[in-house]
């Protein structure tokens, strides 16, 4: 499955910003099931300097600086990726084996995963979280069954509600009010799994959305999405999407991962001057075969 994703972020400010430094996590990662066909980030106005580097977690970051400032900033990320259905695991080891593996961290992979078992700025462990998760962990239950059960319970217990939280709502409050959006759910399930000693990381990306039957696809109506990935010993990292109760296959497009949202927020920045900046974002995820012919593949690799 091939997709084209256009992610536009714009800032405008009444007074011009005099100096601005920015970082963008907007370039997709290559994974076992995802390859990047083309990627490009257009920035208006032209930044004074621009560099591309890898962050600590191996994500691609674009840093750019405006010496002369701007009053309107437009960042357009245009990416084309191809996704194949990830390996389908029929059997998986008991969760105890996975837990022992990551806690002993003898292998290189387990040692790397161990980093994702601790607190991070947005995901804090607690006994309440551990208690919530514990009932899915029957003795000797295969880890994938445990995760499926957790997803099932989580989906029943937590309601998607875009008015219930803001971007800074703490994970403990989400747990209490049982409502939130994908980011809250990812943070919370990460916290629950870490509270039990497992390694879990935050994945930022996009989800292909299908228009209601009979309606045309609306351009720009999509949004960025977030889910999580759990270290499952010999199986490696397995993605799960608590918002949609899914083990992602070909509809989830991965941009970046980290300990939580703070590591991979799509655009970060520091500016001097300016006043009350206005932000607007539009995301469009479109299968390439549905694109008008003229538009396809003009995003060249940079």
């Amino acid at each position: 499955m091939k997709y084209r994703i256009v992610h536009k972020t714009s800032y405008s400010s009444a007074d011009p910003v005099s100096v601005g430094h920015n970082e963008a996590w907007l370039t997709p990662r290559c994974t076992q099931s995802q390859s990047v066909l083309a990627h490009r980030i257009d920035i208006e106005p032209q930044p004074s300097t621009r560099v591309v580097l890898n962050d600590y977690f191996g994500n691609t970051v674009t840093q750019f600086l405006f010496n002369q400032g701007y009053s309107k900033l437009l960042i357009s990320a245009i990416n084309e990726v191809e996704i194949v259905t990830p390996a389908k695991w029929v059997t998986s080891p008991p969760w105890e084996v996975v837990l022992a593996d990551v806690q002993a961290h003898y292998s290189h992979e387990a040692l790397q995963a161990f980093e994702f078992t601790f607190d991070s700025p947005r995901c804090r462990r607690s006994t309440a979280f551990a208690d919530y998760g514990a009932s899915s962990f029957h003795p000797d239950r295969p880890i994938l069954e445990v995760l499926a059960d957790l997803l099932e319970r989580f989906f029943v217990d937590f309601k998607y509600d875009s008015t219930a939280t803001t971007v800074s709502t703490p994970v403990e409050q989400v747990f209490r009010q049982r409502r939130g959006v994908c980011q809250d759910f990812a943070h919370l399930l990460i916290s629950i799994l870490r509270s039990l000693g497992f390694a879990a990381r935050y994945v930022s990306g996009y989800l292909r959305t299908l228009p209601p039957p009979g309606k045309p696809r609306l351009v720009g109506a999509d949004a960025s999405h977030a889910w999580l990935s759990v270290y499952c010993g010999p199986l490696g990292w397995i993605d799960i999407d608590p918002t949609n109760k899914q083990f992602p296959t070909t509809d989830h497009l991965t941009i970046a991962w980290g300990r939580d949202y703070t590591d991979v927020a799509p655009v970060k920045g520091v500016y001097i001057g300016g006043s009350s900046p206005q932000l607007s974002v539009s995301v469009d995820v479109c299968p390439i075969n549905e694109l008008p012919a003229a538009e396809s593949l003009d995003a060249s690799a940079t």
């Binding site: 040692l111 803001t166 960025s224 999405h225």
Partner: protein, 843 residues
């Protein structure tokens, strides 16, 4: 406390030795140890009175430094956390050389640990260090991975030492984030050398200067990859930071420009200092603030020493930072638990300088040991520089101990346990006698080639009891100079050196940061504003306190001027002002003394004082002292001292004299460079604006000018003598207005301010790109022109409508000029803010 000596007698030293701790000066039998022998033998030649007097002198020397450097307004938070004890701490040559060897090994090891943790992580991959040391450590900052590329990351290193009852030294804590105290040690040395009785001077004491020379060389070497003559700045978190004093002292001693975050900016691929003359590239930054705040772009936060984009420049090798951000990692006490193994692993040798025995509770075996001797230990967070919270288990009640054990069991990896140490005793001169205190020593090292140089000395802090002392340098109640003896006489070295080297004559000095220019500009404005308000207030109060206040025809305009200036509320300036007079008389003292009245005289004085404190480096110590004194005298609880307007009048009169003194000191003392120009521009703009505004106030109240009104005008503008000399008592509108506005020989006339401003604007650095005059020059020239074109008819006209328009234009021009100057030269700085990318909520 035992009394060993009484006043009037000769100084005597104790002979009794405490049993439970090591005594630095005396052996078990009460005889002086070899290093102290010569000092102790000479002590009986000194009288208690003499020593006490000299001890006081030493304190005074420090206080004087404090006057120069102390910025804390309330006077409570001292620039030095402790007093200085004249009695030195002495260590012999052999013992010190052993200790120094151990310290150097420690510095080399920990430096390598930092580079490994933020680099290849060999120690973790091979199981020498547990991975928690990074992954569970909030002090492990991932953006620092990859910036530790040089041969050494730690340039300045410090270790806290204590000596246990067995006589062995123990490292209590290691410091590498931005170790404080080296300059305090230097300051102690200078004060002690000056005050010590000549008979007690020891020619064998090693000098501290070579250490600072080595540090300078090292910093220069760091920058030489970028430029032959590297530009080095000392980056301070600023005046609110408790050790700001040390930053100022160190910057002066080493000869580097002291900067704050807003002074530096990343442009393209370099770090630049914003100066009045434009951007100057910087090669080396000595960073004195917490590393977590060093780059708001990659680390978040808004620390005063933060520079957005700095890490990128470090990564690209286009600036050297000492210490490289990330070195603070090794301050976590967890490293102490593994240092012996690391030493074996890398060097195949024993750790020479042992740490205080430390166990990490995250290790099963070590935790078992901790629980076995729980009550003898102190428990600390594993991932926080030691010196923060710690719990001495023996001081807890059974309930507290149970809670602590629960906490440790829940997250064992978060804790370390350490042995308690009973610190050694050392003689202290206190209250006219020699007593015993208990010492902690901070030692300092600087990188040199591939190794480290140890400062032969250090900062000794003394507490009255041998109990654990908090490991920050502000702990303890007095400090001492540390004398490290040499085998033979030492050659004097001084950083003030190069005395014989010829100099090239110059008329400019070090780079001049924009922030300083900004502060001085506003200092000038505050100074002149205060002066102007004082003169207005004096005129008002003199009339209010006279018998016939209600008959004075000039009072309405004076009060109107006060209202226009914002010193009193506008309500007082209404037509029926007579009704308001009693209220005004009652309210005036409060309005004058209230710092919260943002446009009042008290606020102006307080702002002056604040800015002078920040930029004291750029004015003479006398000027700074006079500003302080003036502010203290005027602002110190006036409500309680003032019983009526007469007292206020006296205070205002005094203030006018004090401000004149400040003005005189500035005028006589400041080199006519950019600092003076900016300050003077601030003054001139304010004065032109205020005079114009005052004249408009008077014209709005009086269509025609009666004699008393003209007299009061001359009074406020301080031209009575000039007027009398020229025109005797013949008070005429045109002559008075000429003095106020268009007389270029009158130092207070508007045109004089404008002409001076024109000169300043010409002298400011310019980009030189345009052949035409720039904006600020055009504004000033237009104003000069307008005022010079004032005609005799304008001055005589009743009512003076044409003049009013000119004055209004001058006021507007001055505001625009202030804005243009600020924008162009001063604030391309500003507070960096985070884009709240959080607004973008994934769904």
């Amino acid at each position: 406390m035992t009394v060993y000596a009484a006043p009037g007698q000769y100084l005597r030293v104790p002979h009794t030795v405490p049993t439970l701790v090591y005594h630095e000066m005396l052996d078990r039998l009460g005889n002086p140890r070899p290093a102290w022998k010569s000092f102790v033998e000479r002590i009986p030649n000194v009288t208690v009175t003499d020593f006490a007097h000299r001890a006081q002198q030493a304190e005074q020397l420090l206080d004087e430094n404090g006057v120069t450097f102390n910025i804390f307004h309330d006077g409570q938070q001292s620039q030095r956390p402790w007093s200085l004890d004249l009695f030195p701490f002495i260590i012999g040559a052999n013992e010190w050389d052993n200790l120094a060897g151990g310290l150097r090994q420690r510095a080399r090891l920990l430096d390598r640990v930092v580079r490994d943790c933020y680099g290849p992580r060999e120690l973790i991959q091979n199981g020498v260090l547990p991975p928690e040391v990074l992954f569970a450590n909030p002090g492990f900052l991932r953006p620092f991975v990859g910036i530790h590329q040089g041969p050494q990351s730690i340039t300045l290193f410090a270790t806290e030492l204590a000596r246990g009852p067995d006589g062995g030294w123990r490292a209590m804590a290691d410091r590498a984030e931005a170790p404080a105290g080296a300059a305090f040690a230097l300051e102690n040395r200078i004060a002690v050398s000056r005050a010590m009785p000549p008979s007690l001077h020891d020619p064998l004491v090693r000098r501290l200067a070579p250490f600072f020379l080595a540090l300078q060389n090292r910093l220069k070497a760091l920058g030489q990859k970028l430029s032959e003559n590297p530009r080095i700045v000392l980056l301070s978190p600023g005046a609110k930071y408790p050790y700001y004093f040390e930053d100022v002292y160190l910057a002066r001693y080493l000869g580097y420009t002291l900067v704050e975050g807003a002074d530096l900016a990343v442009r393209d691929d370099r770090v630049f200092l914003k100066t009045l003359a434009g951007l100057v590239p910087i090669d080396v930054i000595i960073s004195r603030g917490v590393e977590r705040g060093i780059d708001p772009l990659e680390l978040g936060g808004g620390e005063p020493h933060g520079i957005p984009g700095l890490l990128k420049v470090i990564r690209e090798g286009k600036v050297a930072v000492a210490n490289v951000p990330g070195c603070g990692l090794i301050e976590s006490p967890i490293f102490m638990a593994f240092l012996p193994q690391i030493c074996q692993y890398w060097l195949g040798e024993d750790l020479q300088l042992k740490s205080i025995p430390t166990w990490w509770c995250g290790d099963q075996g070590q935790l078992k040991e901790v629980m076995g001797r729980f009550t003898e230990l102190v428990i600390k967070p594993a991932f926080q520089a030691s010196g923060g919270e710690e719990v001495i288990v023996s001081r807890l009640d059974p309930e507290g101990r149970r809670e602590l054990i629960d906490q440790i069991t829940a997250h064992p990896y978060k804790y370390v346990a350490q042995e308690l140490i009973a610190r050694s005793a050392v003689p202290v001169f206190r209250n006219g006698e020699v007593q015993n205190g208990h010492a902690a020593i901070r030692t300092f090292l600087t990188a040199n080639q591939d190794d480290y140089d140890v400062m032969p000395g250090g900062l000794v802090r003394v507490a009255p009891t041998p109990d654990p002392m908090v490991l920050s340098i502000s702990a303890g109640d007095s400090s001492k100079d540390l004398w490290v003896l040499a085998e033979s006489l030492v050659k004097p070295v001084s950083l003030l050196g190069d005395i014989d080297k010829p100099v090239v004559l110059r008329r400019t000095s070090a780079i001049f940061p924009s922030r300083v220019a900004d502060d001085l500009f506003w200092f000038g404005q505050s100074l002149d504003r205060a002066d102007f308000l004082c003169r207005l207030l004096r005129a008002v109060i003199e009339r209010l306190t006279a018998e016939s206040a209600s008959d004075a025809p000039e009072l309405p305009w004076l009060i109107r001027a006060l209202a226009d200036q914002g010193q009193v509320e506008p309500g007082f300036a209404i037509e029926s002002f007579l009704v308001q007079l009693p209220t005004l008389t009652d309210e005036l003292p409060r309005m004058i003394s209230n710092v919260e009245e943002s446009r009042g005289v008290a606020a102006a004085i307080s702002e002056m004082d604040r800015l002078a404190s920040l930029e004291r480096l750029w004015m003479s110590p006398d000027t700074f002292r006079k500003v302080r004194e003036t502010a203290l005298a005027f602002l110190e609880s006036p409500e309680t001292r003032w019983t009526g307007l007469v007292d206020v009048l006296e205070a205002i009169n005094q203030l006018i004299l004090d401000l004149a003194a400040v003005s005189g000191l500035l005028h006589d003392g400041m080199v006519r460079g950019p600092a003076w120009r900016l300050l003077d521009m601030g003054r001139r703009i304010e004065r032109a604006r205020n005079t114009a505004s005052m004249l408009r106030s008077v014209m709005s109240v009086n269509a025609t000018f009666e004699r008393p009104v003209l007299k009061s005008l001359l009074e406020v503008i301080d031209c009575r003598m000039t007027y009398r000399a020229r025109y005797f008592d013949n008070l005429q509108q045109n002559a008075v207005l000429d003095l106020c506005i268009s007389d270029e020989t009158s130092p207070r006339s508007i045109v004089s301010q404008l002409v001076a401003l024109s000169d300043h604007v010409d002298a400011l650095p310019n980009d030189g790109q345009s052949v035409l005059r720039n904006e600020e020059k055009r504004i000033v020239m237009m104003a000069v022109h307008a005022v010079r074109m004032v005609s005799p008819e304008n001055l005589e006209q009743v009512p003076a409508t044409a003049l009013q328009q000119i004055l209004l234009d001058v006021e507007k021009d001055m505001s625009t000029l202030s804005h243009v100057i600020t924008r162009k030269y001063l604030l391309h700085s500003g507070i960096p803010r985070q884009i709240t990318s959080g607004l973008e909520l994934p769904q």
